[in-house]
């Protein structure tokens, strides 16, 4: 979110009036320019993102089902969110998922991006294409492949490992192992995009900086800590935020692979929102839960923002 020390300050005001040739009418023209750039995107976002969000906010105070009549019920939905043990449990599961997914996915993506950026690696281009493949496969299909791998009776992994006397058991139906397994599938599916983002960030780091660091006698680890990491701060912050948002909205592979089970141990908040809204037709409650998730995510992101922001200031 913040820029690092070597770059110009973020809130940069260019010399002279923006876009205007003279002082007269410059301000108006500048406003017009800004509006022109923002208009198409903002029009669409307002209609199809912000307005639906406001509708959902309104619904969260009602007992709406999506059709038919709806009644204003005040904060009842919100009280239920914080008192229903199933919902609290789903929140706990979501936190657990996020704590496992985010660091794992981000570190793996960074490590692989560093590897793919290294000149020592033969056939880098092939690897780059190869490692990106999970991202383009649809998750429903990938989930099948994973289930086929992990199946305890007819699965390949189990069959191969049996040769070595190892049994992996029924990981997707184990209340302890099911969560790490769905996290692993999500990491497998998503790391590639984060990796590409890191790769783009790495390629923007000027080689001269590494040269300079080496002149000063910095080893590989020290170069990574003192050159790569600070210069990648912007990218890392971005990846961390999108990975956290993705984790807090975990749904797809859980829906396909475990349906929230066993014993609701992989039931996440968004799984719960789906079930309340689309199975129990309790759209009001689903909207309330969505807003609680939104607020929690926002707080978490702001904390992340300030923490990474502070760290970068220290570096500068």
């Amino acid at each position: 979110m913040t820029t690092h020390a070597t770059r110009p300050p973020r809130r940069y005001r260019p010399p002279g009036q923006l876009g205007g040739r003279g002082p007269i009418g410059g301000q108006a023209k500048r406003r017009l320019t800004i509006a022109g750039f923002l208009l198409p995107a903002l029009a669409i976002l307002t209609l199809f993102v912000f307005w639906p969000m406001l509708s959902a906010l309104r619904l969260s105070f009602t007992d709406a089902s999506g059709f038919g009549r709806e009644k204003f019920i005040g904060l009842e939905n919100y009280t239920e969110v914080f008192t229903d043990p199933d919902i609290l449990r789903a929140m706990g599961n979501t936190v657990l998922y996020t704590v496992m997914f985010t660091p794992l996915a981000v570190v793996l993506a960074l490590a692989l991006a560093l590897a793919l950026n290294s000149p020592y690696l033969p056939f880098r281009g092939v690897f780059r294409t190869w490692l990106f493949l999970p991202f383009i496969v649809s998750l429903a299909v990938a989930a099948f492949a994973w289930q086929y791998l992990l199946d305890p009776q007819v699965g390949l992994l189990n069959y191969w490992l049996q040769g070595f006397g190892i049994r992996i058991g029924n990981v997707l139906q184990d209340p302890v192992l099911a969560m790490p397994t769905v996290v692993l599938v999500a990491v497998w599916k998503n790391f590639a995009f984060y990796m590409i983002v890191f790769l783009a960030g790495l390629q923007e780091i000027p080689g001269s900086l590494y040269e300079a660091a080496k002149m000063d006698g910095a080893g590989p680890w020290s170069r990574f800590r003192n050159v790569t990491m600070p210069l990648l701060g912007n990218t890392t912050g971005f990846v961390l935020i999108i990975a956290t948002i993705a984790a807090l909205q975990a749904f797809d592979q859980i829906y396909v692979m475990t349906g929230g089970g066993p014993y609701k141990s992989t039931q996440t908040v968004v799984m719960q929102i789906y079930q309340s809204g689309f199975k129990d037709l309790d759209l009001g409650f689903a909207s309330a839960l969505s807003y609680v998730l939104l607020i929690a995510t926002l707080i978490l992101s702001l904390v992340q923002f300030f923490v990474t922001g502070r760290r970068e200031k220290d570096v500068g």
């Binding site: 089902s65 199946d151 007819v154 029924n170 139906q173 349906g259 014993y263 199975k279 129990d280």
Partner: protein, 423 residues
């Protein structure tokens, strides 16, 4: 960059042109004199062709009505119906798994069919009363059945022959004894290579495996659509009986759901599975010589939960459309149509006055028709059925993993009752 922008503009214009074309043809099809009804259903196999045929015949016989079908899978109907209805863009007639009808009905999505059932011309008086029970919420019918079939056991004849079993078991004790004979642990590592049966412990086929077993011992899950009765001594006995068979005798793998159970049967790894009529074609595709039998009788009675499909008239249909839809329903239940539908779909006839001999052409249907009398609707009138079933799944899955049965049933009872109280 400029090229990219130009390409973008060209493609955008082209796509909008395509959109215009398609919306143009759309409006043309909805204009015209006859009442046009949209009908969503999930019959995607051979049964779908038969249903299309029935609809075509109906359209041909009625100049003033035109029914247009849209085929989706059952899961897709469930996921998209709410959104479509929220903007009056949904179907006028929709078929869906029967246990999903009450929740939609309770929110006002379906038209009240009390008058339709009261009308003699509706052909509904001979319908299986258990099938009609699926349509009723708080005493009001909101739909008509299009399918009602008991769960039954599919068994692998080759594996039965290899184990020297000639008669299919008829009681639980015989069933478990045979399953033990069919369970093979060649290398003696404690994990069988072949299982006698597969007893799914959650998300079972049509959610009916455990209710079937509970009924067999005189138990139930919910009474009158309002009272949880899962915590009964009968159900505790049932759960303990089957968890002992699975844990101690290892007659079934654990942690399996309904879909996985069907796949295990297809792979030849298990000798018996509880399933629906479609297992016949799946077994055939996988070159498995199969037999069909009723679920063996429990200590108290012979019973099976039914897989049900319902169709209803949505609230967005105006009076003219609703009248046309009712006309279609009456047509659907005419004896000849009902017989043709039964033969084509592979499900037993919905009318009780159609003798098994009329459907003898289809051996699967004939076999299922014989045991149809023992079948019961799943959670009739229960609005939040998916929550109730989720709680039941927790109890069965934990029990088969060795959990303490009485406390599991106690927890399930409390959770199910609070769900029922919310509705």
């Amino acid at each position: 960059m400029k090229k990219l922008l130009t390409a973008a503009a060209v493609l955008a214009v082209a796509s909008l042109g395509l959109a215009a074309c398609s919306s143009g043809s759309d409006s043309a099809s909805t204009s015209g004199d006859p009442v046009t009804l949209t009908f969503w259903h999930g019959y995607t196999e051979a049964d779908g062709d038969v249903l299309e045929g029935i609809v075509d015949d109906f359209n041909a016989a009625h100049d003033d009505v035109k029914i247009e079908t849209e085929v989706k899978t059952w899961a897709v109907i469930d996921d998209t119906l709410l959104t479509a209805l929220s903007a009056d863009q949904g179907p006028d007639i929709v078929a869906m798994p029967a246990e999903r009808l009450p929740v939609y009905a309770s929110k006002g999505a379906f038209a009240d069919l009390t008058d339709f059932y009261a009308d003699d011309a509706s052909n509904t008086s001979e319908l299986n009363p258990q099938a009609v029970a699926m349509e009723t919420v708080d005493g009001t019918p909101y739909g008509v059945p299009t399918g009602f079939v008991p769960l039954s056991v599919f068994y692998n004849k080759a594996l039965f022959a290899a184990a020297g079993i000639t008669e299919f078991p008829t009681t639980w004790d015989e069933w478990v004894a045979d399953a033990k004979k069919l369970t093979v642990d060649q290398n003696g590592d404690g994990t069988p290579e072949q299982y006698g049966m597969v007893l799914p412990d959650h998300a079972t086929v049509a959610n009916g495996v455990w209710p079937s077993l509970f009924y067999g011992n005189g138990g139930d899950v919910v009474e009158d659509g309002t009272t949880a009765v899962i915590d009964s001594p009968e159900n505790a006995e049932t759960l303990e009986y089957w968890s002992k068979a699975v844990i101690d005798d290892k007659i079934s793998p654990t942690g399996v759901d309904g879909v996985k159970a069907d796949e295990l049967f297809s792979s030849g790894k298990v000798a018996m599975t509880i399933g629906g009529p479609w297992m016949a074609s799946i077994a055939k595709d996988n070159a498995i010589d199969y037999g069909i039998a009723a679920i063996p009788a429990g200590p108290k009675q012979q019973a099976a939960s039914a897989i049900g499909v319902s169709m209803g008239i949505t609230a967005q249909a105006d009076d003219a459309k609703a009248a046309a839809a009712k006309e279609f329903f009456s047509y659907f239940f005419e004896p000849e149509v009902a017989t043709a539908w039964s033969l084509g779909s592979g499900w037993p006839p919905l009318r009780t006055d159609i003798p098994a001999s009329d459907v003898a052409d289809n051996p699967t249907v004939a076999a299922l028709t014989e045991i149809a009398g023992t079948s019961r609707a799943l959670l009739p009138g229960v609005v939040n059925s998916s929550d109730v079933l989720a709680e039941m799944d927790v109890a069965t899955q934990k029990a088969l993993a060795g959990g303490d049965v009485p406390s599991l049933l106690g927890d399930a009872q409390a959770a199910i009752q609070s769900t029922l109280d919310e509705q």
